[in-house]
């Protein structure tokens, strides 16, 4: 049953994306940035999925520290790994957009730098997990590190409001808007990315369960 739900969600996400890519290609050019602006339809939803993953990782890590339930630990590692993939895509698509619009691949402004630090912190989280053998110690250290890593997430999100950055100011926060049909496709891409992220997290969670089964089978094999 769970498998079927995952397939349905995954196919729904891919169908929405396929339909949306076609629809976005037909949208008119943006006045100043031209066609390159359309990267935003993928760049922002990827970041939205990444921030959602970071928030879920924070809640799961706090949940583990309070309850010591390993399901929270499994959820934390699953969302962190998937979130890191989305963060990577966000950084790369942003860099490609910057090369065309700014003429540079990268600049050390507050948004870009804090986003890179965020990527490094969550990559460090996964490396930390690999470095600790004992499961309870690994989960506890990882949960504490995940909470620490989350401190960077509000800096990434609000840096464009707090400081003058080369990164553009937020479109919607400053009373700006898209034309209605642009907003529709933008929101559908958000839904598709979140669905895709949910499916990836569910698959990753199943792998964590399989890993726990392997650990218990190994213990049984040693005991016999």
């Amino acid at each position: 049953m769970r498998e079927k739900i995952l397939y349905v969600l995954g196919i729904a996400a891919l169908l929405i994306l396929a339909w949306n890519v076609n629809a976005i290609a037909r949208l008119p050019e943006e006045t100043q940035q031209g066609v390159t602006f359309k990267i935003i339809f993928f760049h922002v939803p990827m970041w939205a999925a990444a921030v959602t993953a970071a928030c879920t990782a924070l809640l799961a890590s706090v949940g583990f520290l309070i309850t010591k339930n390993f399901r929270f630990d499994a959820l934390a590692v699953a969302v962190t790994e998937v979130g890191l993939a989305f963060t990577t895509v966000g950084l790369v698509t942003g860099s490609i957009w910057g090369r065309e619009i700014w003429g540079i691949w990268w600049t050390w402004d507050a948004r870009l730098t804090s986003a890179l630090v965020c990527w490094l912190l969550y990559a460090g989280y996964l490396m930390l997990r690999n470095a600790i053998e004992e499961p309870t110690q690994r989960a506890t250290f990882a949960a504490v590190f995940s909470i620490f890593a989350f401190l960077d997430v509000p800096i990434v999100v609000f840096s464009i409001k707090w400081w003058r950055t080369q990164h553009p100011q937020p479109v919607f926060w400053n009373g700006g808007s898209f034309p209605p049909d642009w907003t529709t496709h933008f929101l559908w891409n958000m839904v598709a990315m979140l669905l895709l992220g949910t499916v990836m997290v569910a698959v990753r969670l199943r792998q964590e369960e399989a890993q726990r089964e392997i650990d218990s089978l190994r213990r049984m094999a040693h005991a016999l």
Binding site: V35, A85, T88, E213, I214, A221, L224
Partner: protein, 67 residues
């Protein structure tokens, strides 16, 4: 080329077409990079899943033998 330089409208059209082509190039780089990264991650996941299933299978076989 001679015709283009003498016809401002045609020159403008060629310049617009070149700009559009350049922008589409960068848009396609962005989209390709996005999907390639996600596809690579999915492939890593699939290979990890296979490895885990193989490991569970072999451990169960060892347990059966020991019993």
């Amino acid at each position: 080329m001679h015709l283009i330089s003498q016809t401002p409208l045609l020159a403008q059209l060629v310049s617009d077409a070149e700009r559009l082509q350049h922008q589409y190039e960068f848009l396609s780089y962005g989209l390709t990079a996005a999907w390639v990264i996600l596809a690579v991650y999915l492939l890593i996941m699939v290979s990890r899943e296979r490895k885990l299933k193989r490991e569970i299978g072999s451990l169960r076989a060892i347990l059966e033998e020991k019993k």
